[in-house]
């Protein structure tokens, strides 16, 4: 990695201002590729309208308000879940010594691992053989 994290002093978790300053010092050392990736990370969202359609069809609630807090919360959770999937898939690729694009087999393996870690809500099914 081009940014050497050992050179950046550690900061207490409660200090808001220092955290912002630390983020600035890290971001200022980004390469162009890292910067564009970080930009995509910050800006990307799942469209509210699509999430609204999905939630309305699942819950049967009609005419959900556009600034419903439930919408923002679910979108936030979903985005972080995508992050977990992609990051775990990258770990899987490193373990298998593969590079390049992430393929569906990596995502499936990463999904299986997340299930074992309990990060995926399970539909409670009757388990007959324990």
């Amino acid at each position: 990695m081009e940014v050497d994290l050992t050179l950046i002093p550690t900061v207490e978790a409660n200090d808001g201002e220092k955290k912002v300053a630390k983020m600035h010092s890290i971001i200022s050392q980004f390469t162009e590729e890292q910067m564009s990736r970080y930009e995509c990370f910050r800006r990307s969202t799942l469209h509210k309208s699509n999430m609204k359609k999905l939630l309305e069809s699942i819950t049967g609630i009609k005419n959900m308000n556009n600034d419903d807090p439930r919408l923002s919360v679910v979108s936030g959770i979903a985005k972080m879940f995508v992050g977990e999937l992609v990051e775990t898939a990258r770990l899987v690729m490193v373990k298998r010594n593969e590079t390049g694009h992430i393929r569906p087999c990596h995502i499936r393996e990463s999904y299986r691992r997340l299930k074992l870690q309990g990060k995926v809500p399970q539909r409670t099914a009757p388990r007959f053989f324990r």
């Binding site: 990736r37 970080y38 930009e39 995509c40 990370f41 910050r42 800006r43 990307s44 969202t45 799942l46 469209h47 699509n50 999430m51 359609k53 999905l54 939630l55 309305e56 069809s57 699942i58 819950t59 049967g60 609630i61 600034d67 807090p69 439930r70 923002s72 919360v73 679910v74 936030g76 959770i77 979903a78 985005k79 972080m80 879940f81 995508v82 992050g83 999937l85 992609v86 990051e87 990258r90 390049g100 694009h101 992430i102 393929r103 569906p104 995502i107 499936r108 999904y111 309990g118 990060k119 995926v120 809500p121 399970q122 539909r123 409670t124 099914a125 009757p126």
Partner: protein, 128 residues
């Protein structure tokens, strides 16, 4: 990722009530473009493979569906589906919980800011 219709009778009846299609496997892609940017931001290549994006979308839709069903089960005991039902479900996952608190706080701030803006506008128009 097998379907268990016997174990979740309430959820299947709810989806029938909402009028969902008969072939739930054939969903129109909802989040393709946004997911491509998101996956790049989280570590994939600049242009993720389309089959990977399709798989991630299926997984995310299933995740949101299961999460929402569980939240609704909790919510029906109280009456309505509230934000707190979702927060309860991710209580063990600290990064997600903190992020949701941030998002809710930001929304509140925006609401207050908009209210203050509307009040100022009223003052200005009433002065005329």
């Amino acid at each position: 990722m097998s379907n268990t219709p016997a174990a979740a009778p309430t959820s299947s009846s709810k989806s029938k009530a909402a009028g969902s299609s008969q072939a739930p496997e054939k969903r129109k892609p909802l989040f393709q473009k946004e997911l491509q940017h998101m996956m790049y931001g989280f570590g994939d290549e600049q242009n993720p493979l389309p089959e990977t994006v399709a798989l991630v979308e299926d997984i995310v839709v299933e995740y949101v569906t299961d999460l929402t069903h569980k939240a609704q089960e909790i919510g029906t005991k109280r009456g309505r589906l509230l934000v707190d039902d979702f927060l309860y479900l991710i209580r063990k996952d600290l990064p997600k919980l903190n992020r949701c608190r941030e998002l809710l706080a930001m929304q509140e701030e925006l609401k207050q800011a908009r209210k203050a803006f509307d009040v100022d506008e009223e003052k200005i128009t009433s002065l005329d």
